[in-house]
């Protein structure tokens, strides 16, 4: 509980930090809130004065009434105008804060180590950046709109009341803290409920993301009912915890209203007794009662806002969790930018594992000279992809060191290291946008000619041309509508345009038919010439020509050599080779 409260406090601090940027609007908003609240309190006084001039038949002072009403009209117009500007300021603040937070969360996403991303469900991260931020924005807006007005109204009423009768004011002031206590008690209780609700929502989004995203597989196996069952289980849990959170938080309003009615009764009682004792007039009593009402109403509103804010803060805490997640190791100050890469890659005594308890790669040594071709072979799941994770520095080695051109890759900028490699993965990824946008990803200033030459070399030109808008055809998220092979051809063309000094090809042609593959083989060969290349492949024809063949099994390199020497060894590679020509 105390920890939660502390978290809550630090969350508030962080939120204030973001709000600080908009201090000008905050100041304006608070000033206008004060103006509109005080004027709102003032209007009834004018109206009351006006009524005093309407005494009875034939005894009505029209000229005074006219003057007072004119005054009231002006005050009303100013109030409305102040409210309007205040609302606009509040919009600006809360949407601006959310804009910044969302941006920062996304920025964080780009800096998070892959370890974090690989070990969290996409749906959950998405839910934080989208749904939680949205909820937070709503709460914040509501807070700004109603909080200050409420506070000023309370203070204003208090002043008016003290001016009328300090004694009864004390009664009012003594009872109202009860209302605040009740509100904060409920808020504290509901904070954890909202957090549970938020978490369950995240879990549900995870399922929705997974199941709707892979709807096709679900349907193919006719698993709709079972998936629905699983969904319903979480759905039901969400219903229960939402009901709890919503219900308990909504008791704030009636509870504070009840306390308010106690205040009202208290005023009526002490006031009436005072009138009986002759220390207060009837008119003053009625005036007091109406102010007591006005004084307590903002408490209702504020307590409503507080619940909303609780919810918003629970969401904000989840966002900040993401934003404050440890980023990848920052780059040292004397960081080097890799230029003119020759392609000399050395691995010295490298140890690596995803999970501390299960060692994967141990004391791996490898020396690749510029322009050499390294093929990595081995049964599936042997750690080939891990090698790529390490070369690209998606993950850092646990021990030892990897260097490019004699420079430890931890000493160079990630950007320059990664852009030195051209990577084509088995799992193709294309972004939403035109085909052209996707192709020029590695070289935004590529000319039309370069694009078409590369596309032709990758044998993608002909199918691109057949698409509705050629190179300007929009591809949907995830490249839906393109076949796996077409996607892979586009990924290859993408690399052929940027032509980085080193290459990583992880099953780069696995989805391409061999006829096409054969045709692009020349282009590939030309591309690899003079470039250090790491190739993960199954097709031994590709592997045979490699300068170094690494045979991996269970995360370890068990054989190393070239095709001839490995065949002579008659080891694992030999067995693999034979199986292909069975």
């Amino acid at each position: 509980m105390t920890r939660e409260r502390k978290n809550n406090k630090s969350t508030l601090k962080k939120v204030l930090h973001y709000v600080g940027k908009y201090w000008f609007f905050v100041v304006v908003s608070i000033l206008l809130a004060a103006v509109s609240a005080l004027l709102t309190l003032y209007v009834p006084i004018i109206i009351g004065d006006t009524i005093d001039f309407i005494i009875d038949k034939g005894n009505v002072d029209f000229s005074m009434i006219y003057a007072l009403l004119k005054k009231a009209g002006i005050v009303v117009l100013i109030t409305a105008f102040a409210q309007w500007i205040m609302n606009i300021c509040n919009n600006k603040i809360s949407y601006g804060v959310v804009l910044d937070i969302r941006k920062e969360a996304f920025e964080k996403l780009q800096k998070l180590p892959l370890k974090y991303i690989d070990s969290h469900a996409y749906g959950e991260i998405v839910s934080r950046i989208i749904a939680d931020v949205e909820q937070f924005s709503e709460g914040l807006l509501m807070g700004f709109t109603q909080f200050f007005t409420g506070v000023v109204t309370i203070l204003g009423t208090l002043v008016f009341m003290v001016m009328l009768n300090p004694k009864i004011t004390v009664v009012v002031v003594c009872i109202t803290p009860v209302s605040l206590l009740v509100a904060s008690f409920i808020a504290k209780k509901t904070y954890s409920m909202f957090r549970i609700q938020s978490e369950t929502k995240g879990e549900q989004t995870g399922i929705i993301d997974e199941m709707i995203g892979n709807q096709k597989v679900v349907q193919a196996f006719g698993q709709e009912e079972r998936v629905l069952e699983r969904f319903d289980e979480v759905n039901e849990r969400l219903r229960k915890c939402s009901l709890r959170a919503i219900f308990f938080s909504s008791t704030t309003n009636p509870a504070t209203r009840f306390v308010n009615s106690l205040v009202y009764t208290g005023v009526a009682f002490t006031g009436a007794i005072a009138v009986v004792n002759g220390t207060l007039s009837v008119g003053q009593l009625s005036c007091f009662l109406s102010y007591a009402n006005q004084y307590t109403k903002p408490f209702n509103e504020i307590s409503g806002v507080i619940t909303e804010l609780q919810n918003a803060f629970a969401c904000a805490a989840r966002i900040f969790e993401l934003i404050e997640e440890e980023a990848q190791v920052s780059e040292p100050e004397d960081v080097i930018v890799l230029t003119d890469v020759k392609g000399n890659v050395e691995l010295e005594n490298v140890d690596f594992s995803y999970d501390k308890e299960r060692k994967l790669i141990e004391s791996l040594n490898l020396s690749v000279k510029p322009g050499q071709r390294v093929a990595i072979v081995g049964p599936t799941g042997c750690g080939k992809t891990t090698m790529i994770n390490l070369l690209m520095r998606f993950y850092d080695v646990d021990k030892g060191c990897i260097s490019v051109d004699g420079k430890d890759i931890r000493q160079v900028t990630r950007n320059s290291l990664r852009t030195s490699y051209g990577m084509v993965l088995q799992e193709t990824w294309l972004r939403e946008g035109t085909i052209r946008d996707n192709l020029i990803m590695g070289k935004p200033d590529a000319t039309e000619e370069e694009i078409i030459t590369a596309a032709k070399a990758a044998h993608a030109h002909s199918f691109i041309k057949r698409m509705p808008k050629g190179y300007d055809t929009e591809i949907k998220e995830g490249g839906e509508g393109l076949s796996q092979g077409q996607k892979q051809l586009l990924c290859i063309a993408r690399i052929m345009i940027s032509l980085p000094p080193m290459l990583i090809l992880d099953e780069a042609t696995s989805s391409i038919d061999t006829r096409t593959e054969l045709k692009i083989q020349n282009a590939f060969a030309k591309m690899m010439e003079g470039r250090t290349s790491f190739i993960v492949a199954h097709r031994l024809s590709t592997i045979k020509e490699a300068d170094i063949i690494l045979v991996m099994k269970n995360g370890k390199i068990i054989e190393q050599g070239n095709h001839e020497s490995l065949l002579k060894e008659k080891g694992f590679y030999y067995k693999l080779y034979c199986s292909q020509y069975q």
Partner: protein, 616 residues
């Protein structure tokens, strides 16, 4: 919204009782001023302290009753709202699952996810608010108006003018802002899209060092979103000041009219005060109503989008209507008339036709047909929105127990073709028969139960390995699972995990390699011992040794499983009983390996590209 109200049906009691208790509470609130008046008129005027104490007791009692009513109302409202949202989410999820592949391709996944999450949430709070406040506010507005009329009809006419003006303003703002809220949501969808994209493509983005440009793109969309939000915000920011102004101007007119009426002696000063109080009361409630309307506006926009999804019907009718089938039959050749009869007779059940003279023909026809497990007849298929046909004039038949290799280049239509068998898509021309019956005549469940498919992209779900395998067959025994794992060459994966079958696969199966995923998804398809097994390029992530072992193991399985192997590797299909060679959506060769190697130029090209000169 109307359609969505169905989901409140089970909460009838709550939807009635919630507002009802709220009204009760409001009524008590209206009594309080009367009690105060009594305190002043009786207690104070007669200096009766006992009476004052008694009346204060009454007020506290009223407060307690009000508290109970109000909490009850909140409970019912919360219960109805959360129940409503839960039911709605359930139906939405179920509905989305019933959509066919074409619709899912069309809407896109991320849109569906926002519909299910943030839209439903907004709607839930909308329902909650409506149940709590929607009756209460109009109740007080109407009540106050009636009271005004009982005081003085002429003065009350001011109310009659003020309230319509207010309504016009409120509804006008709603009318403008609803479409804008829709746009805001669409814009949020785009932000969601890029966020998801950045998660799935994080490796590529980092490999290209594109973090900054992605940030820029996100920033752009984020800015657009915020701009839209502020634009809508500006419009709804008018709501409060405008209503406040109108009401207060109304009050001023009321006092002027009141002054005239008092001057004429029609009403008293006290009555003017009463009128003024009623007007203020209306103001308070209308402000609440206006805020409520903002929430409701948002909720309605969400409701509209949810309805759109719910209204989207699967283009794939479970079973084709009789007339439609009839039509398709009429177009078919004479030979098909016999088949027509045979299919019909199966539908009718064999008993009813036992005595007809045609029955022999028919039964022969069935058995002749059922010898063919799968038949494609002149099939043509076009994807929604695509110009050209993906498949053209595909005709071939497969006998029970045969292994069919399907080979062809990228985009030649291999996957499209096999997707027609479990009816993921419908053929636009011709028909596909399984066991002699048009696939459209089966229920989807029955049809898909016959088929085990391993898709190109292997997908496993969060849960244990066992749970994943059991997708294929819910009540699979330990032995069946093991058998499937062994055949799929996946036993070693399980053996290497300390938790074995109970190893938990993370969401997106990120803790498994591509090949491991593929082998487990093969096991998943195998465990149900399907009549038809489709391996759609399922060995792409497997090395040759594993691939060969897999094919061998599948070959050893029971005789009557019909297997389709889609591949780009000649080695994967060369031992098949029949190889179908596809090129640009058309069949360019059917036969066994040796024949095709002789005659089919496309097959030759593929083969030699993989087996090089040494074999040639």
């Amino acid at each position: 919204m109307k359609k969505l109200l169905v989901y409140l049906k089970d909460y009838k009691k709550e939807t009635v009782l919630g507002p009802l208790f709220k009204l009760l509470e409001a009524s008590f609130e209206l009594i309080v001023p009367m009690v105060v008046a009594a305190i002043i008129d009786v207690g104070v005027n007669q200096r009766d302290a006992e009476y004052i104490t008694k009346m204060c007791g009454v007020m506290i009692l009223l407060g307690v009753v009000g508290l109970i009513c109000s909490i009850t109302a909140q409970y019912y409202a919360a219960k109805a709202a959360t129940g409503f949202a839960t039911k709605l989410r359930h139906s939405l999820f179920q509905h989305i699952q019933s959509l066919s592949f074409s619709e899912i391709d069309e809407i896109g996944t991320s849109t569906l996810i926002t519909r299910m999450t943030s839209d439903v949430n907004q709607l839930q709070s909308g329902v909650n608010m409506v149940l709590r406040l929607f009756l209460r506010s109009p109740f007080i507005v109407v009540g106050a108006m009636i009271m005004a009329f009982t005081i003085d009809v002429k003065a009350a006419l001011v109310f009659v003018v003020t309230i319509p003006v207010l309504s016009v303003v409120i509804f006008g703002i709603m009318w403008v802002s609803i479409p804008l809220y829709r746009k805001v949501q669409e814009s949020l969808d785009r932000i969601l899209g890029i966020t998801r994209e950045n998660l799935t493509g994080i490796r590529v983005i980092r490999a290209f060092g594109k973090e900054d440009s992605e940030l820029k793109e996100f920033g752009k969309r984020n800015d657009i979103f915020t701009e839209l939000q502020i634009k809508v915000g500006k419009i709804s920011a008018l709501m409060n000041p405008l209503t406040y102004m109108i009401i207060n101007l109304g009050i001023m007119v009321l006092i002027w009219v009141g002054a005239l009426r008092v001057n004429n002696g029609a009403i008293t000063q006290g009555q003017v005060v009463a009128l003024y109080n009623y007007m203020s009361q209306i103001l308070v409630e209308l402000i609440k109503l206006a805020n409520l309307i903002v929430t409701v506006t948002k909720a309605l926009a969400c409701a509209g989008r949810i309805e759109n999804v719910l209204e989207m019907e699967s283009s794939m009718k479970q079973e084709l209507s009789e007339t439609k089938l009839e039509n398709s039959r009429k177009c078919s050749s004479e030979k098909r008339i016999v088949e027509n009869f045979s299919t019909k007779s199966t539908a009718m059940g064999n008993d009813s036709i036992k005595n007809t003279c045609l029955k022999k023909n028919a039964i022969e026809e069935i058995s002749m047909k059922s010898e063919y497990k799968v038949v494609f007849e002149q099939v043509g298929m076009t994807y929604k929105g695509a110009g050209e046909e993906a498949l053209t004039d595909i005709s071939f038949s497969v006998k029970k127990g045969e292994t069919i290799g399907i080979i062809g280049g990228t985009g030649s239509g291999k996957t499209s073709m096999v997707h027609l068998i479990p009816r993921f898509y419908d053929a636009n021309r011709g028909r596909v028969l399984v066991d002699g019956r048009d696939v459209r005549e089966y229920s989807l469940k029955e049809l898909r139960n016959k088929v085990g498919i391993v898709m190109q992209k292997s997908v496993l779900f969060h849960g244990t390995i066992r749970e994943n395998i059991c997708w294929g067959k819910q009540d699979a025994t330990e032995e069946e699972i093991m058998q499937a794992l062994i055949t799929a060459q996946a036993k070693e994966i399980v053996d290497n995990k300390p938790e074995g079958l109970e190893t938990v696969i993370s969401q997106g199966a990120k803790n498994l390699s591509g090949g491991q995923k593929q082998r487990l998804s093969i096991a998943r398809a195998l465990v149900r011992k399907p009549e038809i097994l489709i391996l759609d390029d399922s060995a792409s992530a497997l090395d040759y040794a594993t691939d060969a072992a897999l094919r061998k193991a599948i070959g050893k399985l029971e005789e009557d499983m019909t297997v389709f192997i889609v591949s780009q590797r000649a080695s994967s299909v060369m031992h098949a009983d029949k190889i179908v060679v596809l090129d640009d959506g058309e069949i360019v060769g059917i036969g066994i390996h040796e024949e095709l190697k002789e005659k089919c130029s496309v097959y030759q090209e593929i083969y030699y590209s993989q087996y090089e000169k040494e074999e040639a």
